[in-house]
């Protein structure tokens, strides 16, 4: 326990109050550790604003969510009408609702950019693996939050989107049908589903999300931020133990973030006030038709932020299974032939590959589609151990690595776009190539990330004063 600190009786009222608190709660200590004496690298660029912005969007979602729950009715007969009631009869209800619906999309925009920043600068590499794992957990929780929140307006897309996704779980062998029943609470998506999704959306998932956000930030402040050069600034400290390339988060990055926040709010408000539907991408047109369990829409498309993963799901057809089986076979053969390891391990790989191939032939492609969709997210968790590059930052990697990352981004956009479109032969083929590339990028990363001529990493960060 810290020693009790006495303060001069002549001190100002503010100083006395702060001293009183500091003797009972580490207020000044926390502020120092996380703000005024948290040293962040001074060479942050544009890509480093999305962490703060996702925190801002989280706050927007929680605050607007609280007000929406005051008027929303989680009842299949009333839900759609209560949303329209909010839009029409609740004072400023339209603004709160549009902020929440735009906020959902904005959340994914900033989180995707934030994750891509991590990918570019190797922010998940040692010693920041746990930050990355907590972050991936946040991404997963966010997807669950968004998926369940989307059912609540009880429009046609809400209803049929949930129906399609929950039905996927029934493709899991043995437990599938019961699991789907457990999730829905009924044999079709209905009032019971709406009620439990509401509960999860409003209480359960936000609690998990907040806990993970706290863990993410604590872990970050423990090891310190990475930077665009991928250099550990703690390796060069001055006599006082302060990193030479570091500057206090407050005030330098707090003013930085306030600037970023005002720019973000400008764009956010432009959407909220002038294009809340965002051409059908943020609010789908079909969702203005109340849910109808007897009328299936001709084309069911998830909201844009799920579509890359939806494409991974749809790409796995029974035809595609042959390609995937061939991939497993080739992988096993290569591993046995090329990697030096004890015979026992080689035997295990052969047996493992045979079992997987047998399962791939025995179980319906629909199930493997679900595996691909889930795997597309889960594989991100392994990134710290997949990347074998001798340097962290893309700046010092071979140029063809940069090109590969560019192709990865383009591919992500392409499969995202295809996920919004109805199935067709050409789109199906492109989706399958896109899927193979997406997984190939990660699975082969331990191999390709070591290849090429790497540039020399400087000792100190690159920074030009502005």
């Amino acid at each position: 326990m810290a020693t009790f600190h006495e303060i001069s009786p002549n001190a100002s009222a503010g100083a006395k109050t702060l001293n009183w608190i500091d003797n009972r709660f580490p207020l000044s200590k926390l502020f120092k550790e996380h703000m005024s004496e948290y040293y962040a690298p001074k060479n942050f660029n544009f890509w480093y604003i999305f962490g703060s912005l996702s925190l801002l969007v989280l706050v927007i979602q929680i605050v607007t969510g609280i007000f929406l729950v005051m008027h929303y009715k989680p009842d299949a007969a009333l839900a759609f009408g209560s949303v329209e009631y909010i839009m029409r009869d609740v004072p400023w209800g339209w603004l709160i609702r549009y902020m929440h619906s735009t906020g959902a999309s904005a959340f994914f925009v900033v989180v995707y950019l934030h994750m891509f920043r991590g990918l570019m600068y190797g922010s998940y590499r040692k010693p920041r693996e746990l930050i990355w794992l907590f972050g991936c957990g946040i991404f997963l929780a966010l997807m669950a939050e968004a998926f369940m929140g989307y059912l609540l307006p009880w429009g046609q897309m809400s209803y049929w989107g949930a129906q399609v996704i929950v039905n996927l779980f029934s493709a899991i062998p043995l437990i599938g049908p019961d699991l789907a029943l457990l999730i829905r609470g009924d044999f079709v998506v209905g009032d019971a589903t709406l009620n439990r999704f509401f509960s999860f959306h409003v209480i359960a998932v936000p609690l998990v999300l907040l806990g993970l956000v706290v863990a993410h930030i604590i872990a970050l402040h423990e090891v310190g931020s990475n930077n665009p050069d991928g250099i550990e600034i703690k390796a060069n400290k001055d006599a006082n133990g302060i990193p030479l390339d570091g500057i206090p988060f407050h005030p330098y990055y707090s003013v930085h973030d306030v600037f970023a926040v005002s720019m973000f709010l400008f764009v956010f408000s432009a959407i909220v006030f002038f294009a809340p539907e965002m051409g059908g991408y943020f609010l789908e047109y079909n969702n203005f038709i109340p849910a109808d369990s007897f009328q299936t829409p001709l084309h069911i498309a998830p909201v844009w932020y799920f579509t890359p993963f939806y494409t991974l799901l749809r790409a796995v057809t029974s035809e595609m299974m042959y390609v995937l089986i061939a991939c497993v076979l080739a992988g096993a053969v290569l591993a046995v032939a090329k990697i030096r390891m004890p015979r026992l391990f080689k035997g295990a790989i052969v047996v493992g590959a045979l079992v997987v191939m047998a399962m791939m032939m025995a179980i319906d492609a629909k199930f493997w589609g679900v595996v691909a969709m889930g795997g597309g997210v889960v594989i991100l968790f392994f990134l710290p151990w997949l990347d074998n590059s001798p340097v962290k930052s893309i700046r010092y990697r071979p140029n063809w690595h940069k090109a590969l990352y560019a192709v990865f981004v383009i591919n992500f956009f392409v499969i995202g776009y295809l996920g919004t479109q109805p199935v067709s032969v050409i789109a199906g083929r492109v989706s399958q190539f896109g899927t193979l590339f997406y997984f190939g990028f990660f699975i082969l990363m331990p191999w390709w990330s070591r290849l090429g001529t790497f540039k020399e990493v400087p000792n100190r960060v690159n920074y030009t004063a502005h």
Partner: protein, 229 residues
Amino acid sequence: MKIMGFTQKIILGMAMALGLAGAVQASEGGAAWDKAPDRITDMAALQNGAKVFVNYCLNCHSAGFMRYTRLTDIGLTQDQIKDNLLVTNSKIGDTMKAAIDPQQAKAWFGVNPPDLTVIARSRAGAGGTGTDYLYSYMRGFYKDETKPTGWNNHVFPNVAMPHVLWEMQASMTPGEYDQTMGDLVNYLQWMAEPAQTTRKTIGMWVLLFLAGLTFLTWQLNKAYWKDVK
């Protein structure tokens, strides 16, 4: 402005029902949509659209989330609404309910005439805005004796709804009819989101404020960072 009497409504409903025994569901693949005129801030047009809506559409379709009193937003007074637009038994604070009984409607038409409150928002798509669709749809009816109603539609092939406005169309020049339909679909667009004009007006001020704030925070940021070498 004259509101159709209850008896007339029943007769009209029966007439529609006769032809509608085998109502056909919506199908894709209609004609391309025409561009609807934009009169979303034209109060006279919106009022005329509201008049057409209440006199014709509201016989079979509800606007179950739209309150009559909200029509004050398009420049009508409470008294004007009470005297001219209220359907039988409705109060000014009520939502717009169809004159027809929903269960009867289902029995007569085979399908329940959809609620029209947010129809303009739901019908937008790759072909254009919701108003484009509705404008083309309302002008897309043609005689087709092979259909149970005797009517078909270029934009919505095999639609269950007959051409309710055929008498109106027959009594007008094509230009007048287009003009009236333009008013009607703009009213539907307004009704789908009555706050839309306010939203844009407030939006201008919000963006103006944020532009100023961005400038200030940019300068603040610059002032702090000029010392960082």
